[in-house]
């Protein structure tokens, strides 16, 4: 009987703790508007392209890439960056 009473008290205490935790606290933050989110995604893409440029340059300096591979890779990445910039300007 004594053990059962202790268990019942523990159950009530646990429920009260959880209920307190559930009922107190602030509000959640919602994400940006679709337009803001899209702009952010484009900025992220642009940063990724810059990172790729940096890696490409480093590999060239390290001697992993020949002149031909480096120029081709750099040209393609610059073109990609320009496209992303145009997209960003179009959505401004």
């Amino acid at each position: 009987m004594g053990t059962g009473l202790v268990a019942a008290f523990a159950c009530v205490f646990l429920t009260a703790m959880v209920a307190y935790f559930l009922l107190t606290g602030g509000e959640a933050q919602l994400e940006d508007s679709p337009r803001e989110a899209e702009l952010r995604a484009l900025r992220e893409r642009k940063r990724t392209i810059y990172d790729n440029l940096r890696d490409l340059h480093f590999e060239f300096l390290a001697g992993k890439l020949g002149e031909e591979d480096y120029r081709r890779g750099r040209g393609a990445l610059e073109q990609e960056a320009a496209q992303v910039t145009r997209k960003m300007e179009g959505r401004a």
């Binding site: 059962g4 268990a7 019942a8 159950c11 646990l14 429920t15 959880v18 935790f21 559930l22 009922l23 606290g25 602030g26 509000e27 959640a28 933050q29 919602l30 994400e31 940006d32 508007s33 679709p34 337009r35 803001e36 989110a37 899209e38 702009l39 952010r40 995604a41 484009l42 900025r43 992220e44 893409r45 642009k46 940063r47 990724t48 810059y50 990172d51 790729n52 440029l53 940096r54 490409l56 340059h57 480093f58 300096l61 390290a62 001697g63 992993k64 890439l65 020949g66 031909e68 591979d69 081709r72 890779g73 393609a76 610059e78 960056a81 320009a82 910039t85 960003m88 300007e89 401004a92």
Partner: protein, 717 residues
């Protein structure tokens, strides 16, 4: 305690259910209070399940044999640390343990989201990062003018993705928790009392589990299995929400790495346990439960490689999403096999009727994945196409293709007994030969790709670059293969494996030395200006890449250890007093035979003197124990490890006629490199999870900084 534990898992189910429903309604109505309440409920599940876990552990420690689970899996004489292991040694306890880990992961993810939300609020507050990512308009369009702004934005994007996806990810994690809590409450409760009179003692822990590795192996494995729920939740949430950009993939990748690390450690500890405990001289037998852990590991490995294609080039989006889905589903499949005893296995420590629950969950999860994919497949359109077959992209594609073929082969071999029973009415086991014949050549090709991939350029690689990068590694590879042939290795697979190991290790060494040379040229080697400082700087500037290479070194070491098994030797014989046996370079001499007895077990032990070239080396004590509570006996293997080979002795019983002890001896070359390789792999993974350290300027990072900060026009110029 039993009542309190039962109540706690019921309360946890109510909380998880509320979290799912409130989350769905909150997101549908964009009700921020309801969403916050759902997230708090999801967080509360963890402490409540923790209460239930503590209750069960308390019942085990108190030897409360009124509880069926405790009576079945524990006994009074069991040492304290093995009593803790009782928590996951049986079906009901291990399912509760699974729920606990899952709720723990969800708790950490939610806590992280709250912390990130606060960090984002501070970073985007007026006066801090001006319109870094939160605002729209002209300010947001401007290319960041300074390195600091770029770095802030870079750091902010994955945090934003984590925060924005968390409400839906919490709903998905809550739904998975609901399934396991339903099992804990209604199908496999660990708090059920015995319907008969309380026994004076329990049946005891399975002797196979009474080893140090078994105290840590299942938690690691479970942390791996369960951990894949988090990337799954974020990936599914990103797909359903059509989250713009690729930063959500960063969140998914990081969580996948965490789970992958734990699963790797779990698998290797399992292999180590099998090697040290089962007494057959091996560590991997393509057992269904071993395969069940290996399957999600393979798909997660494929994802960790192919995700780079998405991050770098916006390719393979559909592939990546399905790899994440497949990894989660295979992890559930692994738990299903382990827990239900669907396929006979030395590891399947439980047999039960919870199979239909798992089948239902698996089907629902698959349907949700399929629905989310078909509804949003246009969102996963690739941004670029493959430009050449000789490129980094094609290297990753081949890597993924091989990993997927291995996955299908292992899956097919694992479920074949079940399929054959359906079709022909009898279980047919494909056996080890099937797995070895298919997988060994595939793994060797994968090793080759491990070396080739990093040497190829993105988009296209010219013949000149190929010559420049491949000559030295190919030369070393051929040299090593020739040396192993001359050294007496005759089996073609080990020869090829050693050659490929030489090839790959050379490519990795070249990657490090070339990179460090650039840093040294630019004066980035620190005050000392030496190679160690340059190598450290190089690694810390791109932890993901160079941590990844260290992981590859670990995998190569493991491959060397596995190839060594092609050179194994073994012999067996009766060993009366002073009898001798020869194995490898050693002579074994039987010195003594002893018997011991304690409350938990009785044991027979053989004292074996090991000699080499007439010189005493060491004494080893293989033994056999009889566990009293469970009435089972178990071999205690004696192992002497050196970098060249393991001497592995098994007390195989007693001769029925003479009563003399029988010794089974194995000589296993290069075995220790498997375990060393696993440690290197784990360290490499930990390194890869660290954030990059930005260079302070001057060094190649200076180039990087310029490229990252400059307007596009300047880059063009």
């Amino acid at each position: 305690m039993q009542l309190f534990g039962s109540f706690a898992i019921l309360l946890a189910l109510v909380l998880a259910g509320y979290g799912v429903l409130a989350g769905i309604f909150g997101l549908a109505r964009r009700d921020t209070r309801l969403i916050a309440s759902a997230q708090r409920a999801a967080m509360a599940v963890f402490p409540v399940v923790t209460v239930a876990v503590f209750c069960l552990v308390g019942l085990i420690l108190r030897n409360d044999f009124t509880i069926a689970y405790v009576a079945e899996h524990s006994n009074r004489a069991l040492p304290f640390y093995y009593k803790i292991a009782v928590l996951w040694s049986g079906q009901e306890g291990s399912l509760l343990f699974w729920t606990w880990l899952l709720s723990g992961y969800a708790f950490i993810a939610l806590l992280g989201a709250r912390r990130k939300a606060r960090g984002i609020a501070e970073a985007t507050a007026p006066g801090n990062l001006a319109a870094a990512t939160a605002g729209a308009g002209a300010a947001a369009l401007a290319v960041p003018a300074t390195r600091a702004a770029t770095d802030e934005e870079e750091a902010l994007s994955p945090r934003l993705a984590h925060r924005n996806l968390m409400p839906l990810a919490a709903v998905i994690l809550g739904a998975i928790e609901c399934f396991f809590l339903l099992l804990n409450n209604f199908a496999a409760s660990p708090f059920v009392t015995l319907p008969v009179a309380t026994p004076p003692d329990g049946n005891g822990l399975n002797p196979l589990l009474q080893y140090a590795q078994m105290v840590i192996h299942p938690p690691m494995l479970y942390l791996g299995y369960v951990g894949f729920s988090v990337p799954f939740a974020f990936c599914l949430a990103a797909l359903i929400k059509r989250y713009p950009g690729d930063r959500w993939i960063h969140v998914t990748r990081r969580w996948t790495m965490v789970a992958w690390l734990f699963l790797t450690i779990g698998i290797v500890l399992g292999g180590n346990w099998a090697y040290r405990v089962l007494g057959w001289g091996g560590y991997w037998a393509w057992d269904p439960v071993e395969n069940a852990a290996f399957l999600p590991w393979l798909t997660a490995t494929a994802f960790l490689h192919s995700v780079m294609m998405q991050e770098k080039r916006g390719m393979l989006k559909v592939w990546n999403v399905w790899l994440v889905f497949a990894t989660f589903l295979l992890a559930v499949f692994g738990d299903f096999i382990t827990r239900t005893g669907l396929v006979a296995s030395v590891h399947a420590f439980a047999q039960s009727d919870i199979g239909p629950w798992f089948v239902a969950f698996f089907i629902v999860a698959l349907l949700v994945c399929g629905w989310a994919y078909f509804r949003n497949r246009d969102f996963l359109k690739s941004e670029n196409a493959l430009e050449s077959t000789v490129s980094r992209e094609s290297g990753f594609l081949f890597n993924n293709f091989i990993l997927l073929v291995i996955t299908f082969a292992v899956l097919w071999g694992t479920v074949f007994p079940v399929v054959s029973e359906w079709i022909e009415g009898q279980k047919i086991d494909v056996g080890r030969v099937f797995f070895d014949r298919i997988n060994v050549p595939l793994f060797l090709f994968l090793l080759f790709l491990t070396g080739v991939g990093p040497l190829l350029a993105w988009r296209r690689t010219s013949l000149n670059s190929l010559k420049r990068n491949f000559t030295a590694p190919a030369f070393v590879g051929v040299l090593v293969a020739a040396a192993s042939l001359l050294g007496g290795v005759r089996d073609p697979y080990p020869i090829v494996c050693f050659g490929l190991a030489g090839f790959v290790l050379t490519t990795i060494a070249m990657e490090f030395t070339r990179g460090a040379a650039v840093i040294r040229r630019r004066g980035g080697g620190g005050i000392l200006g030496g190679w160690p400082a340059a190598l450290t700087q190089l690694t810390l500037r791109n932890t993901r890449r160079y941590g990844g290479y260290i992981v590859h070194v670990g995998i190569i070491l493991i491959a060397i250890g596995i190839a060594g098994s092609g050179l194994n030797q073994q012999t067996q014989g009766a060993m009366p007093y002073h009898a001798q046996m020869r194995i490898g370079p050693y002579t074994l001499v039987s010195e003594n035979y002893t018997q011991n007895d304690n409350a938990n077990y009785a044991s027979n032990s053989l004292e074996v003197a090991v000699e080499r070239g007439g010189q005493y080396v060491t004494t080893m004590y293989p033994a056999r124990r009889f566990y009293k509570a469970s009435n089972q006996d178990q071999s205690m293997v004696a192992i002497r490890s050196t970098p060249l080979a393991d001497l592995y002795l098994v007390y195989a019983g007693n001769d029925p006629n003479s009563g003399d002890p029988i010794l089974h001896a194995y000589w296993n070359p290069l075995m220790v490199w498997i375990w060393i390789g696993a440690v290197v792999t784990a360290l490499g993974t930990l390194l890869a999870m660290l954030p990059n350290r930005r260079p302070s300027g001057g060094a190649p990072g200076g180039v990087a900084a310029k490229a990252a900060a400059a307007p596009v026009e300047e880059v063009h110029a």
